[in-house]
C-alpha cells in the first residue's frame, strides 16, 4: 500500500503498536532548554533513575538568557534557572552548551546547524516550535515536561497517529516575498486550529526550490496552524546543508545514511486525508493585525470587518483600518522562525544605506553564535549598526520576553517572530508578525511598509 512520508517515519519508530492507531514511538533525539526541563529532571531524580541514553540529548539555554551583559546574568531567577540546567546536565551526563560556548543559540537553530537534526529521526523538545526540524524530513514535535521525563527515562513516547495533510505550494514567489509570507498565508487561510490532528507535509515546486533556512521557517510555524508536525521530504538541498556539519556522519557511513534518506518521501500515489494548494505567485507580503497568528492580511490590506472586538481593542485598531502606514515603536529581527543567516541577509539588504526611523528602537538578535559570527564575517553587523540597529547576543529574546527585552504597554512592534499573542512581547505589547525584509522596511520608515515599494 502506498504510504506518506509521515507514515513511513512513524512506522520506522514503532516499538509497540497499540489499539486505536496509538503506538510507543522510539525517540532518537531530544533537545533540552532551561524552561521546560527542570521539573522533568526533578521527577527523574525522585524515581531514582538516570537518563536511558544521555548521548541522545543536547541542552542549551536560550529562552531566559539576556542578549547583552550576560556574564553573569543579572536577573537572579533566570541565572538560577540556567545554572540548574547546567547542573542537571552535568549530573545526568548530557552535553550542555554553555552561554559562552560559540555554539550557543536557540534550540531550533543550533540543532540543524550542528547536524544534531538529521533526516529520518524522531526528534522532540519541550517546545512547540520543534516542528522546525521537520524541514529535514525528521518526525519532530513539541512535548510537555512530563513527556520530557518519559523520554529521559525510557527513550519512548506513547503517541496517537495523526491524519495527513499535504500542502502543495507551486510557482515562484514574487520579489520581496518569503517563506514567512507563505506560512502566514496558509495560517490565515485555514485558521489557528485549522490543521489540528494532522501532520502536514509541505510539497510542490516552491518548496523544492527553497533553501533549508526557508524550509525551516515554513515548518516552524506549523504549530500556529494547530498541527504539531510539519514535514518536507529530504533532497539534495538537505544533504548539501548537512554535509560536514559537526554531528553529521562521514565517509562510508554518510553514503549509507544518504542512501537511506533518499527513501524518505511520500509515494507518488499516496493518499492524504486532506490536500491544500497554494499559488506562490499570488502571495503578497503578510502582516498580522490581531492577537492570533491567523489574524493576518496582505500588507496592502485592511483590518477585516467582523474582526473580534477583544483583539481590536488590545491592538488599538479598528475594522477597515489599513495596515500600511501604521506607526511602530519597536522592531525585532530574530527568533527560531527568522533568526537564521538568510533572514539577517534579507533584513540587511533593506537596511543597507538607510537609517532606523526616529523614535524607533530596532534590535537584531541572531538565532545562534554561528549565525552571529557568519553575519559578522559577511559584514551584516556593520550594515545593521550603521543603520542604527542594535546587534545582540543569541537567544529567544523579544519572541517570548522572558529576559529583559520587552515592550512597554501599548508599544507596537514589527516582529519576525511567530506569535502575536496578548502579552507575548510584554504586558499590553502589540505585535505585528511579518518577514525579516518587511520588519527592516518598518524599521527604516517607522511605519508598516510594503517592502516591494521601497
Amino acid at each position: 500500500m502506498p504510504v506518506t512520508l509521515y507514515d513511513r517515519l512513524w512506522d520506522a519508530h514503532v516499538v509497540a503498536a497499540e489499539a486505536d492507531s496509538g503506538a510507543l514511538l522510539y525517540i532518537d533525539r531530544m533537545l533540552l532548554h532551561e524552561v521546560s526541563s527542570p521539573q522533568a529532571f526533578a521527577g527523574l531524580r525522585e524515581r531514582g533513575l538516570r537518563p536511558r541514553r544521555a548521548a541522545a540529548h543536547l541542552a542549551v539555554a536560550d529562552h531566559a538568557v539576556p542578549t547583552r551583559a550576560r556574564h553573569p546574568i543579572a536577573d537572579p531567577q533566570a541565572r538560577a534557572q540556567v545554572a540548574l540546567l547546567e547542573a542537571n546536565c552535568a549530573a545526568a551526563g548530557i552535553e550542555y552548551l554553555a552561554l559562552d560556548d560559540a555554539r550557543q543559540g536557540i534550540v531550533h537553530v543550533i540543532g540543524p546547524e550542528l547536524g544534531f537534526t538529521l533526516p529520518g529521526i524522531t526528534l522532540v523538545c519541550g517546545d512547540s516550535h520543534t516542528a522546525t526540524h521537520g524541514a529535514f524530513g525528521a518526525l519532530a514535535f513539541g512535548i510537555g515536561t512530563s513527556e520530557i521525563e518519559s523520554v529521559l527515562a525510557t527513550q519512548v513516547l506513547r503517541q496517537q497517529r495523526a491524519r495527513t495533510l499535504r500542502v502543495r505550494i507551486d510557482g515562484v514567489l514574487g520579489q520581496g516575498v518569503s517563506a514567512k509570507d507563505v506560512i502566514l498565508t496558509l495560517i490565515g487561510r485555514i485558521g489557528a486550529g485549522g490543521a489540528a490532528g494532522f501532520a502536514i507535509e509541505y510539497a510542490g515546486s516552491t518548496v523544492s526550490g527553497m533553501s533549508m533556512e526557508a524550509r525551516m521557517t515554513l515548518c516552524n510555524m506549523t504549530i500556529e496552524a494547530g498541527a504539531r508536525i510539519g514535514l518536507i521530504a529530504p533532497d539534495d538541498t538537505t544533504f548539501a546543508y548537512l554535509k560536514g556539519r559537526p554531528r553529521a556522519p562521514v565517509d562510508a557511513v554518510w553514503e549509507a545514511a544518504v542512501a537511506y534518506w533518499r527513501t524518505l518521501a511520500s509515494d507518488p500515489v499516496a493518499v492524504f486525508d486532506r490536500e491544500i494548494a497554494l499559488d506562490a505567485a499570488a502571495i503578497a507580503p503578510q502582516v498580522s493585525w490581531g492577537t492570533s497568528p491567523d489574524q493576518v492580511v496582505a500588507v496592502d490590506g485592511v483590518v477585516p470587518a467582523g474582526a473580534g472586538k477583544g483583539a481590536l481593542a488590545y491592538m488599538g485598531l479598528s475594522a477597515g483600518a489599513p495596515l500600511a502606514g501604521l506607526a511602530i515603536d519597536r522592531v525585532f529581527i530574530g527568533s527560531c522562525t527568522n533568526g537564521r543567516i538568510e533572514d539577517l541577509r534579507a533584513a540587511a539588504a533593506v537596511a543597507q544605506g538607510r537609517r532606523v526611523a526616529d523614535g524607533v528602537t530596532a534590535i537584531v538578535v541572531p538565532g545562534s553564535g554561528l549565525v552571529k559570527r557568519t553575519a559578522e564575517a559577511e559584514g551584516l553587523r556593520d550594515i545593521f549598526i550603521a543603520a542604527g540597529f542594535e546587534w545582540r547576543e543569541p537567544g529567544c529574546s523579544l519572541c517570548v520576553a522572558m529576559n529583559d527585552d520587552r515592550l512597554d504597554p501599548g508599544q507596537r512592534c514589527a516582529s519576525t517572530s511567530n506569535r502575536n499573542f496578548e502579552g507575548r512581547q510584554g504586558i499590553g505589547a502589540r505585535t505585528h508578525l511579518m518577514s525579516p525584509a518587511m520588519a527592516a522596511a518598518a524599521a527604516v520608515t517607522g511605519v508598516i511598509t510594503d517592502v516591494r515599494a521601497l
Binding site: D20, Q39, A55, Q81, G144, S146, A153, I223, W254
Partner: protein, 199 residues
C-alpha cells in the same frame, strides 16, 4: 497520579476562542522551576483590575472549566495545566484543544472533554447559570440539571485517567525488552544514529 473518577461542581464559563497558553500562564512566570503553586499566576493579566470570571465568588471551588475553541493553543508549556490544576480545575470542556496542551492535561490527571457545538453550548449555558454539573469518566457522561451528554476519549487515555497509573512505571514494566530490541536493530541499520563523530 490521582485517579480520575467522578466530579461534581459548578463550572467556570470562558467561551473565548484561541485562549493560548501565554494567556493561561504568562511567560515571565516560567522562570519558576517548580511544578506547584502556579495557580496564583494563572490568567495573570486577565485578572488584573478585577471582574475576571475565575474570581467570581459563585465559582469558588469550581473544578470544571468550559472553554472555547482551540483552548490551550500555542506554547507547549506544561506550566499552563499545572497552574489550572493548582486552582482546583480537574476537567476542561471545549469544542477543541491545542494538541500539546491536551496531552499535558492527560499527564496531569486532568480530563479534557471535547464536545460538538450543540452539546458544548448546552454545557456553557449551564455554566453561565452557575448550575452544578457532574462528570462521570467511567461511563462517559456529563450530567446537567435536566439532561445528560455523552463524551468519549481514546481508550488508553481513559484508562490512564481512571487508573491514575504512572506512564513511566508502566513502560518500564512492560516494554523494556521491546525498547532494547528496537535499539539493537536500529544500531545495526542506522549506525550513524549511534556512533559519535563529534569531538
Amino acid at each position: 497520579m490521582t485517579p480520575f473518577t467522578t466530579l461534581s461542581s459548578r463550572a467556570v464559563p470562558l467561551p473565548e476562542a484561541n485562549i493560548d497558553t501565554d494567556i493561561i500562564l504568562p511567560a515571565r512566570f516560567l522562570l519558576h522551576t517548580e511544578k506547584h503553586g502556579l495557580g496564583r499566576f494563572a490568567f495573570f493579566e486577565r485578572r488584573q483590575g478585577g471582574g475576571f470570571i475565575l474570581d467570581d465568588p459563585r465559582l469558588t471551588g469550581a473544578q470544571i472549566l468550559v472553554a472555547g475553541e482551540n483552548f490551550g493553543c500555542g506554547s507547549s508549556r506544561e506550566q499552563a495545566p499545572w497552574a489550572l490544576a493548582d486552582l482546583g480545575i480537574r476537567c476542561i470542556v471545549a469544542p477543541s484543544f491545542g494538541e500539546i496542551f491536551r496531552a499535558n492535561c492527560i499527564r496531569n490527571a486532568m480530563l479534557p472533554v471535547t464536545l460538538g457545538r450543540a452539546d458544548w453550548l448546552r454545557v456553557l449555558e449551564a455554566a453561565q447559570r452557575f448550575e452544578v454539573m457532574a462528570v462521570y469518566l467511567a461511563t462517559g457522561r456529563l450530567d446537567l440539571a435536566n439532561t445528560s451528554i455523552g463524551f468519549s476519549l481514546p481508550p488508553r487515555e481513559r484508562e490512564a485517567l481512571l487508573d491514575g497509573r504512572d506512564e513511566i512505571d508502566l513502560i518500564l514494566a512492560h516494554h523494556a525488552a521491546a525498547i532494547a530490541a528496537f535499539e539493537t536493530r536500529q544500531r545495526h541499520d542506522q549506525p550513524w544514529l549511534w556512533e559519535t563523530h563529534h569531538g
